[in-house]
């Protein structure tokens, strides 16, 4: 019989350096999945003991208590107690404690130790504790807790061997059949007990002012704080555009080179057209956004790892409270500027269910990076590159206006939702603000790699499938030689578009737009690819084929139509993945359906108002 590798659970408070320890122990080979039936991520990896025996390590969500206040904490509790569906009971638990925050982190540790399972304590971030002027005695802590205590510095890989040896020791002396002992009256008395044990372990303490506190005097300053936050966000959005230019150019040249090579080596015909127009044209037009998405995530990961994100939430809380949300919603909404999917998943940290639901429902209104290509092509074609002020171009101003339009829209919608469908008492805002830390490059890179992989997988599946289907629908049935109709009008897609066209005609949309809206349901950025494909197939002669998409748009669309199209994209929920993730996060079809309906209604009205006003103004 082959022996099953033991399961080791990594548990601890948020901000105990648990994930850094997990990364240090497992390396980049991590598996991310979901626990069945709940929207909590299961992160696992492999690690080997000194003698080469393998073990599976699972990183449990950070918890303050075994008395759960969120779905995350519920999972941590169930896994440790062996009650979680789809997870066997861990053979040992590594409890990660921040050495500089013992009195707070010991509360959770005491609860877990009381369950009687094999536990090893990793006294983490010892270096930071020493820098704060704390001298700790791990042996005293070991005595008080009755479990092995190993000092570690996860980010410098210090103490990892001792930790692995201690876990191995615990596995060998595993006591049999321990029934979970649930501590009675956990809350009261636990704080005092934790404080008493912390005092035992602290040998000496010098009252040196911590630099983290000094930094907060600036970052949380009532006036300088918001200004700094605004500056950080400005630099972030600036970087998304400025730094991505070069890599986008490389990706474009690469895809052109691939197309050219295929054109040179494959005989003309269906297969060649399919690969060049359908596959490379469609997927390539989406993959070019990878640099922008990665830059945005780089900033978000850095802000999160450094501890600044919680300060941003603190500063924004008052503003968010005015529309019935809390500072906690700020982080998911900020992530939604990259993509609503990670944004919606980040709402898991919001403990109030109605707050969380409202945040999920307005997240698609944040201008995600998939809208950029649509905005960029329309603005480039219809808005003149004039200067309206020193260093301020009209095109940039319109783009900025579209972002603001989305944010204001989200605020108004949140306010309306909070007083109607998600009505409820104003939720609190309770959050730990951890000490500032220098982000570790390795942890950031692992995070970036995971985002890039998710995006590329999406591009390779959903977006690829959508462009291929559209290309097929546009190509077949083939228009007969003697027909006066164009290929697009004759094709299956053209016939479908002709049915939709009357519905969107009042808001200024022509047949081509109706056609582009269908595949854009898969992903917004496909709208650009769809317009390009449509006009490419429709091109009747050499001369027309040589014209750029911009020129074709200019000759076929009026300015009011273009503006209405932009307004539509501020609101329209055109992304299957967002709808799917909303369904998963809200456990049903009710809220995603509601979201789709309200967003389409808003998009229609916004596009209509824009079109009618523009026409009335004689634009």
């Amino acid at each position: 019989m082959s022996e099953i590798a033991p399961l080791i659970a990594l548990a601890g408070n948020p901000n105990s350096g648990k994930s850094a320890l997990f990364n240090a122990l497992t390396g980049a080979r991590q598996k991310i999945a979901n626990y069945p039936g709940v929207t909590v991520e299961r992160k696992s990896g492999h690690f080997t003991f000194a003698d080469g025996r393998p073990a599976e390590l699972v990183d449990l969500p950070g918890s303050y208590s075994l008395d759960p206040t969120s779905p995350d904490e519920e999972v941590t509790r169930s896994v440790i107690m062996g009650l979680q569906k789809g997870e066997r009971r861990p053979d040992a638990v590594i409890l990660v404690l921040d050495a500089a925050n013992l009195d707070n982190h010991l509360r959770f540790a005491l609860e877990v130790i009381a369950l009687g399972q094999p536990v090893v304590v990793a006294l983490n971030m010892m270096d930071l504790a020493e820098r704060d002027g704390l001298t700790l005695d791990p042996a005293k802590l070991e005595q008080a807790l009755g479990v092995p205590v190993v000092p570690t510095v996860a980010v410098r890989r210090r103490g990892l061997e001792d930790l692995s040896a201690a876990v191995e020791g615990r596995l060998l002396h595993k006591p049999d059949n321990i029934e979970p002992v649930v501590a009675k009256d956990r809350d009261h008395g636990l704080s005092k007990q934790a404080k008493r044990i912390a005092n035992l372990a602290i040998v000496s303490e010098t009252a040196g002012r911590r630099w983290s506190e000094r930094a907060d005097r600036l970052f949380l300053h009532p006036f300088a704080g918001p200004i700094i936050l605004f500056a950080v966000l400005f630099v972030m959005f600036q970087a998304v555009f400025a730094w991505s230019e070069a890599p986008i150019g490389w990706i474009e040249s690469a895809s052109e080179w691939v197309s050219a090579s295929i054109e040179a080596n494959l005989p003309a015909g269906f297969i060649r057209d399919f690969i060049i127009e359908g596959a490379i044209g469609g997927v390539g037009s989406v993959v070019v956004f990878l640099p922008q998405i990665l830059i945005l995530f780089l900033f978000i990961l850095l802000l999160e790892a450094s501890g600044y994100m919680t300060r941003a939430a603190f500063i924004m809380d008052r503003l968010m409270a005015s529309v019935g949300l809390s500072g906690r919603s700020f982080i998911p909404l900020l992530s939604s500027f990259a993509c609503a999917i990670p944004g919606i998943m980040a709402t898991r940290s919001i403990s109030d269910p109605k707050d969380r639901l409202t945040t999920i429902l307005v997240a698609p209104l944040m201008t995600c990076s998939a809208r950029l290509p649509v905005y960029a092509i329309i603005i480039g074609a219809f808005i003149p590159p004039t200067q309206v002020g020193p260093g301020i171009g009209l095109q940039g101003l319109v783009l900025f206006g579209l972002y603001v339009f989305g944010i204001v829209g989200a605020m108004i919608v949140a306010l309306v939702l909070r007083s109607t469908v998600t009505k409820g008492p104003n939720s609190g805002f309770l959050m730990e603000m951890p000490k500032y830390q220098l982000p570790m490059m390795k942890d950031i890179l692992i995070g970036l790699w995971q985002r890039a992989w998710i995006f590329l997988r999406r591009a390779g599946t959903i977006i690829f499938a959508a462009t291929v289907v559209l290309w097929l629908l546009l190509t077949f049935p083939k228009v007969p030689e003697d027909s006066a109709m164009s290929q697009v009008d004759y094709s299956a897609a053209g016939r479908i578009a002709n049915v939709i066209a009357p519905v969107v005609k009042p808001i200024g949309f022509n047949r081509d737009i109706a056609l582009a809206l269908i595949p854009a349901m898969a992903a917004r950025e496909v709208a650009v690819a769809a317009l390009a494909t449509t006009y490419a197939i429709d091109a009747t002669d050499e001369e027309a084929e040589a014209r750029s998409l911009t020129e074709r748009l200019q000759s076929r669309w009026s300015l009011p139509t273009a503006l209405a199209f932009l307004a539509w994209f501020v609101f329209a929920p055109q992304c299957i993945s967002t709808i799917a993730v909303t369904r998963r996060e809200t456990n049903g079809w009710k809220w995603p359906t509601f979201m789709v309906v309200y967003l389409f209604a808003l998009a229609y009205v916004a596009a209509g108002i824009t079109y009618w006003s523009a026409v009335a103004l004689g634009l």
Binding site: N101, D103, N104, S191, D216, F314, L430, E432, P434
Partner: protein, 89 residues
């Protein structure tokens, strides 16, 4: 020494001890979260920062070695008694 007050009215950088918490003014879940973050009767706290533009909401609070954010609505339910600042030579 000023007498007992509530946390929202406490002045900045004034160490104090929590003397009572009106749990009825706080939902069960949030009460649990407050305790999980270390706020309970008998705990020493210090108000460190206020919200944007000097608005008294939210409040950054030092509890033990940790800094946490609470809203004014919760701070109002927490009674504190200021303690003298020990000025050691």
């Amino acid at each position: 020494m000023p007498s007992s007050t509530t946390l929202d009215l406490l002045s900045l950088q004034q160490p104090a001890e929590v003397v009572a918490i009106d749990w009825s003014a706080i939902s069960d879940n949030e009460g649990r979260r407050l305790r999980a973050l270390g706020i309970d009767k008998g705990v020493s706290v210090e108000k460190l920062y206020k919200g944007m533009f000097g608005m008294n909401d939210p409040i950054a609070l030092k509890v033990g070695r940790m800094m946490i954010a609470v809203r004014k609505s919760h701070a109002r339910a927490i009674s504190v008694s200021p303690v003298a600042v020990t000025t050691t030579a």
